[in-house]
Amino acid sequence: MSPKRIVLRFDATIADQPIIYRLVSDFGLVVNIIKANVNPQKEGTMVMEITGEKNKQGLEYLRGQGVQVHTLTENIIRNEEQCTSCGACTAICPSGALYLKRPSMEVHFDSDQCVVCHLCTKICPVRAMEAHF
């Protein structure tokens, strides 16, 4: 069975819970964490691959814990011509992929840090952040 790539988002109330351990111990899943980040507000995001027969049950368990689970099938692209470098996305981006370079205050996008949460595509005032399948 080929691994499934997923994106997890969770808030401060469960950031200290051993949810990944449960996936392994209770559901026998093989997990490979590609990226993980907990921001200063203790909100977490994680991109990982999971393999195992109880795949579905494992994801159900995560959702039951209040974790948002999305399939990673997209890439987020920054349309540099459209972006005005206003910065409105930078304190919202949960993984720090969108950030301001100082002192120039230009917006930069590090796609390796992106966890495809889609927040930037909705809150960018000029819709410069695009999801590509």
Binding site: T84, G87, A88, A91, L100, R102, P125
Partner: protein
Amino acid sequence: MAIEKSYAEINAKIKEGKAVVVTAEELISMVDEKGVKKATEEVDVVTTGTFAPMCSSGVFLNLGHTTPKMKMHQVWLNNVPAYGGIAAVDAYLGATALPDNDPLNNNYPGEFKYGGGHVIEDLVARKPVRFRATGYGTDCYPRREIETNITLDEINEAILFNPRNAYQSYNCGVNLTSRTVYTYLGMLKPNLGNAHYSTSGQLSPLLKDPNFNTIGVGTRIFLGGGTGYVVWNGTQHFPEFLQTDSDGEQKGPAGGTLSVLGDLKQMKPEWLIGTSYLGYGASLSVGIGIPIPMLNEEVCRNAAIKDKDLYAPVIDYGEAYPNAKPGYLKLVSFAELKSGKIIVNGKEVPTAPLSSYPKAKQIAAQLKDWVAKGEFILGEPSQLLPSSDAGLKGKPLKG
């Protein structure tokens, strides 16, 4: 002897291509190096800039007469309604106007993908815009409807007229509640998750002339990439100095606004950009740059104020702002805001701007270039705008 320069003297130097022009950022380092007196002597004009969403914007359009003639009662551009209650073929399209079929916030938070600001951007970009109007028919204006494509160059006039732009200092928004709020300052995460501000600080036009010693009716400005004018004080122009609660010390200017006007046909799409705020609405991001003539040392000293000495009030947009509760949580300097974090109620809060500092820098540089090349002459105000001394205050609407 105190230095005093007149508009006529400065303009004469500009026309000869001999004026010394620097941006407000460059003036700061110059004053640090040489002092105010020397800088006032050497510099003739200081340029400023700001680029941010400015809701109170819009465009007067004269569409031209049809055959037979028509009194356009209701008017739409790309399905966005414009105000037709002016004259037969004139309309005013506001930046925050939304299409009749927009879901608004019914599917909260609404996306507001296209509105008046976007129509203005499309017009300036010379894209064809679908124009539709209906009329009730009169003896002199018998035609009752029209639907056609227009472009900016095909219509008679397009005058950008923004009744309230270029806010002096603006609130820094935070959210003390436990739910996310969607505001005109962007998405504010619960429990002080982030702080958003919208002023270019030490480059921002009205922060560099805090007492309105130079800006007034007739001041010629950079507006949307073309030439525009300050035509009045903006609506809700309530200039004051922010004060600390304890000692009452003055903490920088706030509350001034401008009413600006210019020919849309001269403007450029990179300086007028349709903007959408999730859960709030549509707007227009506007580029404005104002030249400040170095008339005397006071003007120079003010134009050289730094980010660390300019302040914004931190306001809770979760509860206090919507309920019109006065006061603020604290004052923070633009130096702190630009550093990326501020402390509010003992918590470190990440900050982000809505106003583009890189674009503000480009505007100040462009205006500097125009003035230095002798292409942009200063407009001497026929009347200065009211300053904090005028004691203007906003009145709440009863009801």
